[in-house]
Amino acid sequence: MISRLPSLGARPWATTPVLAALFATPAWTGDGAAPAPVVVVIVHKENKVADPTFKELRALLLLDRQFWPDGSRVVLIRRPTTSAEEKTLLRELYSMTEDKLRKYWTGRLFRGEIPALPSIVRAGPAAVAAVSKDRQAISVVLSTDVEDGVRTLSIDGKRPEDKGYPLAVKEAK
């Protein structure tokens, strides 16, 4: 939740109802604390792809695998490197720095291994909306952003709410 607040920063007026509701909310206590969000992988709700292993997910999100089992092309919707989602992927899945990831995508286009750079969608809800409209799309969002119209993939058989789910968000110090 906290990590979402900056996305409202460009439009301070939009925070008015949010801030009002926050002030109306009792102070959080340990008992009532919301579960920490995790990064979830979403595809279109009619995409029947099997839940991937951790390694298969890496291949999908780095476009090492560019086609779904039904033969259609994977449409990757990336998130900004400044987002909690991409920072989590950099740390847990890619084992790369931001610079290395930038070089990775530029190099893959330059070598002709991918026909175009994946588009980047800033806001989680917009990524959810985009995936819900495209049967070939895949993206990552915070668990708090998930809505109807998309399917959340398990990773190594673990659901996002399970203990040991591999894409937990670490709060910035």
């Binding site: 109802p17 090492d64 720095t97 026909p115 588009s119």
Partner: protein, 444 residues
Amino acid sequence: MSYRMSRIATFAAASAWIGAHSLRAEEPAPAPAGVEERLKDLERRNRELESRLQAVEGGEGPGASARPAGDAPEDAEHPEDPEDPEDPASPAEDGVSDSGLSARYGQLQLTLQIFGDVGFSYRNPPRGDDAHASFFFGSLGLLTSAQIGERFQALSETLIESEEEEVEVDQERLWARWVFSDFLYAKLGIEHTNVSRWNRLYNHGKWLETSIQRPFLARFEHHEGFVPMHYAGVELGGRRVTALGTLEYVGAVSNGRGPTPGERQLTGDLNDSKAFESSLSFLPADLAGLRVGGGCRFDEIPGIDGDPARKHSILELIGNAYVEYRNGALETLAEMTFLQNDDRTGGRTFDHFSAYIQVGYQVGSWTPYTRFDVREMERGDPYLSEEDVDLDRWEQIIGVRHDFYEHAAVKIELGVGREERRRDSGAISRDVYWTIGTQLAWFF
């Protein structure tokens, strides 16, 4: 009305419209019972506000399309105002979407990228008639990648570079390919050879390379290279992701080399014998960042009419192996190439060998690196001696690369080495040399 005024008016209208709707939406909302429900309620309202704002500003909802092209969602990173300083995710802070120019027309998506580099070098003793110190124009590369539909792709790389005292335009790559699946693609055109990992990894993109110079075994045909770096032909390849790791495979048939190392035969072939090459790479799943592989190539190099020393063809065999490891801040690439030329005119076989190992470690925006590079050649090869690349050489470099901007880097490099040089009399001397170089490389 000025552009600024119209923006303010639009903003005010949007604020009033959304504010009114927000208030209306709040009225009937019952107070959530618990913190979790309140959070969900806030999230839902936040999403509604985002959607309404986009509807007002762009006439579309979020995620109008998820295609990786010009019809990307409104929220995608090609905003109308790319310099919005208040936006925490403005393109200036993001990874790749602000690189290159992209356009889409129907089924066609086009991406253009420009690479450039300039520099300065000091060498002691100087080479040939050159002075010790000189500034140089490196190259300007124009890369165009086009996607038509889901499976057809075309790529062009045009390079403007200095060639002695002249500036030349070279078509370095031009190919089109049909991608059947992850397992198989078919490519036709001009491409870089597979007998060097460095060659296929970096192509002509100086910004992509950590160091200033390419290693000996990956130098281009006109720049002291002895291994073919380009071909015109057809290529089949693909990759297979398995539980053990990813396997990549490539096979190609091409025109092969011309009568001299500098002739790439990109527009025709002087003999009917074609060159065959293949390569295999493996990326183990349990060790992310590691890649091992190798390749081989067979070619029949045509003879030269009127030259008694080159009357018949030369059979060339090339073998290559490499290990690459990139994980976090560490980058390592080690490669070796063996080349054998069987001269059918002189009845002799010449064996040549070259290898290097380069290691770099990124610390913030700085990447110190070092490379040891060696070339052990068998002197007198009638094919390679034409351009004096049949001589031994080794070099140790140490340098640092500073990525001062996400699309630009400066490299500073020190080098020391020893090389054999052929004098006008034909005698061979061995000289120790040292160099200082700097390069500014960028792309956008």
